[in-house]
Symmetry: C2
Subunit: 207 residues, 2 copies
DNA sequence: GTGGTATTGTTAATTAATTAACATTGGTGT
DNA sequence: ACACCAATGTTAATTAATTAACAATACCAC
């Protein structure tokens, strides 16, 4: 199913918000309620759901459980996908933390590092393998997604290795923009940029 | 100066890329070269620079040093701005790391936590204060930007406090969307969403 | 049952962002 | 000096994303 990236992002957020609803025993939700929780408009919610072909049966809002499942059929893969974190420093461990207790189609199955203090230990719930074994482990465990949280100087080489070893998607948290072949999906997030952006708009608001 | 958020983000990236150029003794750079390093088009670079009113004197590309300064006059505040990290766990420490060695108008001057093991210690280069002292410290140190890296359950309350204590911009790394008054600039980043987005497009590419 | 209301799904309009097109200009080579 | 080239700055066109508008429909109150 062909969807705009922005819509995919929102679907992920809808799902997590909806799971929160289940927690509070809320089984139906209106578009404007869901929208308000995410600070977007109700139209946008409805439009996104239209794109994935979901309609509510009744005018009592969306069936939370049903919608969660529908979103799952759209954005999740049929069988589960294995993920690795490369570089298990502070950021890597933080990312690993987000996987905890999440039952999903995404399995964090390995981390890699060069620090002898870390390798072969379980850190933040995931085993850390030595960087030297990356080829073997990535192929053996069939890792499809790499999250890169290494120091900037290593980013480029690590990305090339990951691609060579079969990774099909990369989430890059380093400040170095990466170059990957077109068949590898690349998402980059740059913290410094976010911080500077906040600073800019704070400054502008104050003037 | 009124600028689109996307342009501000790119300006921040331009600047960092340009600083890298200085490191490699590259004093002039063409728009297409700068663009290639960031995987965008040369037109976009030129358009962004047009928006901030920069022009190169010669056709030898942009003067790297001059452009860095120009971007600085646009996106930096005149006097420096103080920043705090709330929640100095793995993610907080990772964020703190990004400030190291950066000389900029943004000063990371404090972190806050509730863990007695952490308070009153210097962690990742920044002193950690007890959460209870947040009001005093935030006012004393004139903190304008808060980076929120606490566990999700605390996010809402922490944000409200930060706003009450004078913060004008928030960067929220928790998975809980925050509600802030209109005069506070809010930027949210959700790692899980990014990961799920990568997974979605990997899946789609494989089909 | 009927009228009114609230909410949805969808098309159309608007706005934002990106890309294309191109005239302009300094530099280069002959 | 002159013709050409390479790169820029800017306007116009295109594409993407959001928002507005509204007909359709199930529920509710009576």
């Amino acid at each position: 199913m062909k969807l705009p990236g922005k819509t995919v992002e929102r679907l992920s957020e809808y799902r997590r918000t909806l799971m929160g609803c289940l927690g509070e025993k809320k089984n139906f939700i209106f578009s404007h309620d869901l929208a308000a929780r995410l600070h977007i408009t109700a139209v946008q919610v409805r439009r996104d759901l239209m794109l994935i072909g979901y309609s509510s049966v009744q005018r009592k809002g969306y069936d939370v459980k049903e919608l969660i499942e529908k979103i799952g059929t759209v954005i999740d893969s049929d069988d589960s996908m294995n993920v690795a974190i490369i570089g298990i420093g502070n950021l890597g461990r933080a990312v690993a933390g987000y996987f905890k207790g999440k039952r999903s189609k995404l399995n964090l199955v390995a981390s890699f590092d060069t620090d002898p203090q870390k390798i072969n230990k379980v850190i933040s719930g995931v085993k850390c393998y030595p960087h030297n074994d990356m080829e073997k482990i990535m192929k053996d465990l069939n890792i499809r997604i790499a999250i890169i949280t290494v120091p900037p100087d290593y980013a480029k080489d690590i990305a090339e290795e990951a691609v060579r070893f079969g990774v099909k998607g990369i989430l890059n948290f380093t400040t170095i923009p990466l170059n990957v072949p077109s068949w590898v999906f690349l998402e980059e997030y740059d913290m410094i940029t976010s911080i500077e952006k906040v600073a800019f708009f704070v400054k502008e608001n104050m003037i």
